[in-house]
Structures are given as C-alpha cells and as structure tokens.
C-alpha cells in the first residue's frame, strides 16, 4: 500500500528561513528518492517564514528535469502554505516546466526580441 510520506521542510532545513539554494537541494534529494520509489509525498511548509525562488527552484523546480509533470502532479502534494507562498511556488513550477521543455527555443525567442551589442 502506498501510504503518504510526510516530509517537513522545516525539519529538513532546520530553519524557518528557507532561502538558500543549498538548503533547497536537501529537500530535493528527499523528494527525488521518494518519487523514484513511486511514493506519495506530502510536503509541509509549517513554520517556514520565508521562501525564495532560489530555494524553491532547487527543492521543487529541479524535479521537472527528473520526472514527468504527470508523475509530479500525481505523487506530490504541498500543505501549510500561505497564499503568497503558493503563488511563488506556482511561478517557480511554471518557469521550471518552461526551462526543461525547450531551453534552446527560449533563447531563440530572446535573440529575436533583443538587438546585439
């Protein structure tokens, strides 16, 4: 039976300030190991006071380079997040999907909109 695996961001980082990419990496490693084993994960942000895109990119954005969107959607849940933190995570997720989908196409679009030196 695939019981939900509870993970606490606060416990992994040991700090309410979740701002460093290196701390996000610790969270990522646990999520990656769990998703590889097809485990359902509930990631709690209880007691976390500050999040940055750098932290969330490492912790969660990076998952989109390893797993399909469908798999992440079916296995990963978050809880205990404030609305503005959820909005930040949503933007990190959308940016990560774009990043891993086609980075070269993205660069090309930039070349077309910006002149050279």
């Amino acid at each position: 039976m695939n019981r939900k695996l509870p993970l606490s961001v606060f416990e992994i980082v040991g700090n309410p300030l979740c701002v460093a990419s290196s701390d996000g990496q610790q969270v990522f490693e646990r999520l990656e190991a769990a998703l590889k084993e097809e485990r359902n994960v509930t990631l709690s942000f209880r007691n976390v006071t500050t999040l940055t895109s750098a932290f969330l990119n490492a912790a969660i954005g990076q998952l989109y380079g390893r797993f399909s969107e469908e798999k992440i959607r079916s296995l990963l849940n978050v809880q205990d997040m404030e609305q503005d933190d959820m909005a930040l995570l949503k933007r990190v997720v959308e940016t990560a999907k774009q990043y891993f989908r086609d980075p070269q196409k993205f660069d090309q679009a930039v070349r077309e909109t910006l002149g050279g030196r």
Binding site: L17, V19, S21, F55, G65, Q83, D84, M86, K90, G116
Partner: protein, 290 residues
C-alpha cells in the same frame, strides 16, 4: 596614488564616482592608494557595499588603501555601520539604530546572511514598524538579491552588503555588491547572447530569462524583485560592468558608465510607509500548483 572622492549619493552619479575610482586605481599593485575624502560631504551608507567591494578588490592587488581627511558627519555614519573598522577606526554604537552594518560574506554564507538580516534588521526594536506583509516582501527581496549573487556571480572575493534607514523620509536603502563576472559576461557565456552591458541587465531582469544551466532552473529572482519595487513605489538600481539600469514607477532607464564596476551591485530603495497588505486571498489551492 591619491584620489579625491566626491560626495556619493545613492544614484547614477554616485556609482559613476565609484567606478571612476576603480578605473583609476585598478592597475595599481604594491602601491599606496590614498582616498582623500575631504570633499566627500555626504556618503549614502548603503553605497558602502559598492565602495567596500572596490576597495577590497584594490587591496587584493596588495595595495595599501587609506581613507584620509574624512569629514566628521561621514566618519560618524561609517563608524556606526562598521565600514571604517576595515580601515583602522573603532566601531561606534548606533544609538538610533538606523544602520544595517556593512559586512562581507562568502558565497557559502547564505545562512549567515539570513541571520544578519534577522538580527541586524528585522528583530531590532529601533526600526519602525513596517506592515507584516511589507516586512515579509522586503525580507524575501533581500534574500533574492543575495541568492542572485551567490548563484550567478562566480565571485571568489565575496559579497558585500550594507543598508540604512531614513526614518524622516520613510525610506530604507539596501545594497548588495559582488566582485564576480558581471551580468554581461554571464549572459554571453551561458545564454550565448553578446549584449551591451545595460541590455544584458534588461535581459536578466525579465521573467524566465536565466543564465542558469544544468539541473536547477532559475529566472525569477530579479523579476520578483522588480514587481515588488513597483508595488512599493520604491526604486531599484543595478550596476554591472559598465551598464547602469534603474527601475522606478514601473519605468526603466539605462545608461553606460564611464568605467566598469568589477562585478555587480543591486541597490534597492524601499518605501517603508507602504501599508499594502501584500497578501493574496483565496486564489490558489494546494491542488492547483503542479
């Protein structure tokens, strides 16, 4: 060599004066560099981050850097924020608690930096109350700036920060400087775009544009910062290489400086009287994210 430093305000002219100093002295080694501050009638304290970075870079070439003839009003503030402790003066107590100390960090010091912001700023009773929403956004913004330097600068000489609160003007200035490769070179090497330095800054501040390569995506930090500054009616300035970029009231202006800065400076000006809640209600559910 001797260099006369004019007044340094938190603006383009202030950055011009600092990069001019660096341009004049950057090739010196085993030399004595005297920065004569007799005409420095004012120095916005947060500019210590960029000033300190330049002086640190010059002392890396085994130059002896001295700050001389410092006016009393300038010496007072630079002693309170600890800047002059690097140049032989005692730190003096900050009775009004309006300084955020000058400090140099290594790129691995993320947590130490977080503690510095909490202890030296957020938890100090002297700093007048900002709304909880503004405090949270301000804290996030500062960490985004620091993370940006950690992730992109490739600096081996550290990251420098300093801030100042102006109670009568409801304004808080905070700057972070690094001695890394700069945005133009970063964009060129990692995104393959050979842009003018000020255009490279424009590029780097747009959503989804990132010089990150590899497994961890990026491309949001400076965009988030710009959005917050627009809502707050504040100002953000970025200097990198010889590019200057400013955003205020939703508009951008750029310029080319006469000399390059040996890295990147991000400098924000926050309106502390901003009473917006900065909280979203009921728009997103936890099941909508992935």
């Amino acid at each position: 060599m001797r260099f006369a430093l004019p007044q340094i305000r938190h603006d383009q002219a202030g950055f011009e004066a600092l990069v001019y100093l660096h341009g004049q002295a950057k090739d010196c080694s085993f030399d004595s560099i005297d920065v004569d501050m007799s005409i420095t009638s004012w120095l916005d304290a947060d500019m210590c981050a960029a000033f300190g970075a330049i002086l640190y870079r010059l002392s890396e070439n085994l130059n002896t850097v001295k700050l001389t003839n410092i006016r009393a009003n300038v010496a007072n503030i630079l002693s309170k924020n600890g800047f002059l402790s690097n140049y032989g003066r005692e730190k003096i107590p900050d009775r009004w608690g309006t300084t955020i100390p000058y400090q140099r960090f290594d790129v691995k010091d993320d947590r130490y930096f977080a503690g510095y912001i909490e202890n030296e700023f957020m938890q100090r009773s002297e700093i007048p109350a900002m709304s909880p929403g503004l405090q949270k956004k301000f804290r996030e913004s500062i960490f985004e700036i620091f993370s940006n330097a950690v992730l992109h600068s490739q600096t081996e000489m550290g990251i420098f920060s300093c801030g100042q609160f102006f109670p009568k003007r409801d304004r808080l200035d905070f700057s972070v400087a690094d001695l890394g490769i700069g945005i133009r070179r970063n964009v060129k090497e990692n995104a393959g775009l050979d842009l003018a330095p000020e255009k490279a800054i424009i590029w780097a501040t747009e959503e989804g544009h990132t010089t990150k390569r590899g497994q961890i995506p990026g491309g949001l930090g400076l965009k988030l910062l710009s959005e917050f500054i627009d809502l707050n009616d504040g100002r953000i300035q970025i200097v990198s290489d010889d590019g200057y970029w400013k955003r205020e009231k939703g508009g951008i202006s750029t310029a080319r400086l006469s000399w390059p800065f040996p890295g990147t400076v991000v400098s924000v000006e926050i309106n502390t009287a901003d009473m917006q809640a900065y909280t979203l209600t009921g728009e997103l559910s936890e099941t909508d994210i992935f």
